[in-house]
Amino acid sequence: MSLNQIERAQGLRIRSTQDFAGGLFMILLAIGAYVFSWELPAGTLRQLGPGMLPKAFAAICGLLGLMLSLSALRYHGEKLAGWSWKGIFFALGGACLFGLTIRGFEFGPIRAPALGLMVAGPLLIFFSGLAADDRKLPELLIFAVAMSAGCILLFKYALSLPIPLAPWLLGI
């Protein structure tokens, strides 16, 4: 028996976890989009309604996802690799911190003070910098302050974008 035949004899199994998961992901997104556009009228061909294209695109996405998952059963491909949870937590968390504190935020029970770029900037750099495996805290601290100062000069003064600097201290 040639290798090909052995391969075929083993039947269908998941040969590429990456493609398989990718296909499932597309299917899930498509189902979500389809469900949420359920109530939008599709209209007629002569007068397309608001729901026509979202539903059509969602259907095609789902179909492609199905094809991708099925092809993962037949053809070999990449495997799913691990996630960098640290990167997600620190880098994206840092960005969210910046968003929360730059102008203050109030959402139900969550409240954040308006700290302005002078605080939110170093905060973002320091917090996200923790994601690196080879971080050095003193260096990161100095860099956070220096980089924020540079950004303030560039964006606030050179480009005069309306960003609050430190409303609690300077009133701007």
């Binding site: 061909l45 492609l64 990167g87 994601a131 690196a132 480009l159």
Partner: protein, 503 residues
Amino acid sequence: MMETLSHLSLGFGVALTLKNIALCFAGCLVGTLIGVLPGVGPIATISILLPITFGLDPTGALIMLAGIYYGAQYGGSTTAILVNIPGEATSVVTTLDGHQMAKQGRAGIALGIAAIGSFFAGCVATLIIAALGAPLTKMALLFGPAEYFSLMVMGLCFAVVLARGSILKAFCMIMLGLLFSTVGTDLETGQERLTFGVASLSDGIDFSVLAMGVFGFAEVLRNLESPEARDVVKGKIGRLLPGWADIKQSAAPVLRGTFVGGILGILPGNGAVLGPFASYTMEKKIAKDPSRFGKGAIEGVAGPESANNAGAQTAFIPLLTLGIPPNAVMALMVGAMTIHGIIPGPQVMTRNPELFWGMVASMWIGNLMLLVINLPLVGMWVKLLQVPYRLMFPAILIFCCIGIYSVNNQPLDVAFTALFGLFGYLLIKLGFEPAPMLLGFVLGKLMEEKLRQALIISRGSFYTFIDYQERPISLALLIVAVLVLAIALLPSISKKREEVFTE
């Protein structure tokens, strides 16, 4: 011809004001500065730098953006030569021979010939744009909604075929982009679609939020994952100006590269990406001794770099004349133009001629600037390349965050971008290349509008798209689209395609 000349002189009149020269210079400089960072390609560079143009008038902003674009392109080549990390698909080829040259102590010459070749290609491409701009704009006025729709379908088919990796996955990304473009208030009925009741989604997903999330944040996450392996050329950069022998050797490849890249760049659907590959293959075929390639042959840098720059520039043609972005970078340009209140398309040239021709002229000035900036500053770029990633990525993040915040002065946008960053990271993990998604996203709204108009005109009949008597152009465009897809799906070709993209 006379018309072209008078247009160009109008353009140079606009571009040569002190302010616009300064903007072009600043754009080229910061574009190179960010583009030179390893792992940051032109798409990420432009999305990071988009906010610094917000305070300017539209003409100045576009001139600066064009400068940023060339700077990013050139910065990518610098990284490819010095660090062996291609910033994006088009500079992959440069790493092959460019980095070898650098290892042999000829880094300066490789950078020099890349700059000179790019400059030459840029000059020619500027002339092509000036010459083709007016006639193509006239042709665009003949296009009805059906033709526009078919053209976009063709563009997306090209983009699927020319994307890296699996065709099926590229197709998924385009459709996902189209799906995202339907989020927001429906233009005709005012009904909210897929907004989940979130107020800031009622205008649709913000373009810069999507771009910076998927290309800024997600790239950072991707790079954080793998420990650094940066192979910065130690030794000397060496002489920058190529000697007479080098120039003689690269003159013909530069000419051929410019020609090939320029033509492929005009194609809708990311033809520019093929330019460097085509040029490299051609040089290798023509060469007397093909075995030198991959070991530091100067033709392998001169040809593809010229093709790259020529294509990068002629890619503006579909955008400026038809208003249809051919690739993800141009999709970003559309986003940038829309932020400044300009809708790209044939009307730009007639309504704002000084903007159109000013931008064309500034392309030439931008190319000159690159030559002037880059050659003396190479030493500085090398220093910059030695900045460790642990400091680089927080800097990228704060640029992105300030940028997103200043688009709408909306703190919530930053959180949305982080969400898209997570989404983009997920896509990368699942093996999807997100660039086609951006193209689909930008084209989606336009496609829906044109589809609706076309169907209203044809009273609900799809036959209008393939009506060979009334609309032969639309039919021809669709036939090309089907052919391209069919050819790409043929097994023998798709095997070849994989070879090209893995080489």
